[in-house]
């Protein structure tokens, strides 16, 4: 039966080995320059696009998130990192309304939600990708990307069947916008393939395309580079940066590969055991003793990143 239903719980279970994020983390603290202004940082004056206030979430007795505060400014690329089980995916799921937080609330562009209304997210200008691929396997790449605009469709099924009213125009519009995004992300070659038949790295990119096609104000990326090769990762990082620059999208991303994150993000929040232990620029995070401690157990097993 064609019922590919992803159990919600599965989203949180990471399948990627912890050594992945040991790479790129400097083990010898570099000479720290306090107060470095990172390149690409946005002026503090802008009102934050996304604010989390006192978010708490637990599953049974397990505390997934405790008292998380976060503030993301428009146009920022904000990474959330942390060891396995630190609550990163839970946080994304709270922001996108998949999980309902036990405490605290989320503010999107100043509007406060106790629970983010999932079905309204697209209208609010929020798009996301999933840690485990969540493409529609039975649709072509183009249709997958065009479905990112489905929330805007105003024509009803009768108009679409008969090809009357606003439906032909909408159809043309969404397909041409999808084509533009495919071109932007260098996916035109696989335009008509079924999404389920693509290699993993490309599927991840198609998912990014589907999220980007609506030109969201806030883009949530749940491990966009997990399971990719090094070259695919740097390609994806440049696509994320290009998307931010072109659509002025604010990006919140979760990533295991600290090396990629350091180069990509404007600011980094570090979670450990459901708590935020740091929230600063890449350079500051790199030298934060608590962050190093959180990762140390993993890093010391794998001194120079061998075996990755």
């Amino acid at each position: 039966m064609p019922l590919a239903s992803y159990a919600l719980g599965m989203m949180d279970a990471s399948v990627y080995a912890p050594e992945v994020f040991a790479r790129g983390l400097p083990l010898t603290p570099q000479s720290s320059v306090v107060g470095v202004v990172p390149t690409g940082s946005i002026a503090d004056a802008a009102a934050p696009l996304l604010v989390l206030q006192g978010i708490g979430l637990s599953f049974g007795g397990v505390v997934a998130l405790a008292d998380i505060e976060l503030s993301v400014r428009p146009g920022e690329i904000r990474a959330i990192i942390g060891p396995n089980g630190a609550g990163k995916s839970s946080l994304i799921n709270v922001i996108s309304g998949v999980y309902r937080p036990d405490r605290g609330h989320v503010l999107l562009d100043g509007i406060r939600y106790d629970q983010v209304p999932t079905q309204r997210l697209a209208h609010l200008g929020v798009a996301r990708t999933f840690q485990n691929l969540a493409l529609f396997k039975g649709l072509s790449v183009l249709d997958n990307v065009a479905s990112g605009l489905a929330y805007k469709v105003r024509s009803n099924f009768a108009g679409q069947v008969l090809g009357i009213g606003r439906s032909p125009g909408e159809q043309r519009d969404s397909l041409s916008r999808a084509d533009h995004i495919l071109e932007f992300l260098d996916l035109t070659a696989v335009r008509d393939r079924l999404a389920g038949t693509l290699p993993y790295g490309l599927q991840k990119r198609v998912e990014l395309a589907r999220a980007l096609v609506a030109e969201p104000r806030l883009l949530l990326l749940d491990e966009p580079m997990a399971g990719m090769t090094a070259s695919e990762k740097s390609e994806m990082a440049s696509f994320v940066r290009a998307a931010r620059d072109r659509f002025a999208t604010t990006v919140v991303l979760i990533e295991h590969d600290v090396g990629v994150v350091m180069g990509l993000s404007d600011r980094i929040a570090v979670l450990d055991y459901g708590r935020k232990i740091a929230d600063a620029t890449p350079d500051e995070v790199r030298n934060d003793q608590r962050v190093i401690d959180a990762y140390l157990g993993v890093a010391s097993d794998n001194e120079d990143g061998a075996g990755i």
Partner: protein
């Protein structure tokens, strides 16, 4: 669950996609009425058309939108009895009007019994659609008003006519059925390639992602139930009015629902053509089996043995298909056609 691919990227001289259906229709309208025997119409083509259309309806719900239903026969019964009553009780309503209204009634019933789909999935939803199956059959038997107080609960079909042209006899009824089936199949094809059809597939493949990108999941599911039930209801009208001519509620039992489900599994889920492939197999297969059995075993092969052997062979076929060709006859057909095309090109 992969879907039928039309992955014909070979360098073959690609014919426009509409050629095959148009030729087929021309043959069905132009040639078949001239050469067909009354046996062909009565025993093969009419049930094939009715079940094929029902398969198209169920495929929209189950194959495309991913909502499993075991209530198809109930929607067929609803359509048949509603059309009968509209035709009987509304003065001056043309037959086509009765049929459309019957489809609308079936789709209303479909929406009601589709409500559980908003909370239930897969197996649990399938079981809840059984409620439709049992309720509709019970209501049609219990309240004799539906069958115009006929003692046995049997209804007789009215004379068929479209726009004043009477369609009597096997050929007339065949043309009547063929016309309705062609129109609805064409509309169904348009639907599954539209944005709504893509929303159906999105919900089937990943409901969470569909909700997050802003597809109205609840509305779309109910729409799938409504459209599917409309088509199945009209298929029920064809079954009752064109094929059997006299029907009773017992003719639309759970076996019929399973038969339609088997049609789309064997034919190919999420494929409009698949419904007709499956229907052809389901209709022709028992006839072939009885001929073969009679030929091989003679008198030992009576109707009891036939019935039993049908179930066994059909069951085995379904298991084989699920294991070897989960995409159904359509995938098999496409593969064979591609092989032939390649072989033809290389010569």
């Amino acid at each position: 669950m992969a879907v039928i691919t039309s992955d014909l990227t070979s360098a073959a001289p690609v014919l426009p996609k509409w050629i095959a259906p148009v030729l087929l229709l021309a043959f069905a309208y132009g040639v078949v009425p001239l050469i067909g025997s009354s046996y062909l119409f009565e025993a093969i083509l009419l049930p094939f058309l009715a079940l094929g259309l029902a398969g198209v309806g169920l495929n929209i719900l189950t194959g495309y939108a991913g909502q499993v239903s075991l209530g198809s026969a109930a929607f067929m019964a609803t359509g048949a009895f509603a059309a009968y009553n509209f035709n009987l009780r509304v003065e001056g309503l043309p037959l086509i009007g009765s049929i459309v209204l019957a489809g609308i009634v079936a789709s209303a019933i479909g929406i009601v019994f589709g409500l559980p789909s908003l909370r239930l999935k897969g197996f649990y939803l399938a079981v809840s659609t059984l409620a439709a199956q049992f309720f509709v059959q019970w209501a049609l038997t219990k309240f004799s008003w539906f069958s115009n107080d006929s003692a046995s609960g049997v209804i007789d079909a009215p004379r068929l006519s479209i726009g004043g042209v009477a369609l009597d006899g096997a050929v007339g009824r065949y043309l009547f059925a063929l016309t309705i089936v062609s129109i609805l199949t064409f509309l169904a094809h348009r639907l599954v390639t539209s944005q709504t059809g893509r929303n159906f597939i999105a919900i089937r493949d990943n409901e969470t992602a569909a909700r997050i990108i802003g597809i109205p999941v609840l509305k779309t599911k109910l729409l799938a139930f409504a459209i599917s039930s409309f088509i199945i209801g009209v298929a029920g009208v064809i079954w009752a009015f064109a094929y059997l001519r006299t029907v009773e509620p017992d003719g639309f039992d759970l076996d019929r629902s399973f038969q339609i489900l088997f049609i789309i599994i064997i034919g190919g889920l999420a494929s409009i053509r698949g419904a007709f492939f499956g229907a052809a197999l389901i209709v022709v297969f028992p006839l072939g089996l009885s001929r073969l059995g009679g030929f091989l075993l003679g008198d030992v092969f009576d109707s009891g043995v036939l019935d039993m052997s049908q179930r066994i062979v059909l069951g085995a076929l379904i298991i084989l298909f699920l294991i070897l060709e989960p995409d159904g006859l359509v995938a098999l057909w496409d593969r064979v056609r591609r092989r032939l095309l390649l072989a033809w090109q290389s010569t």
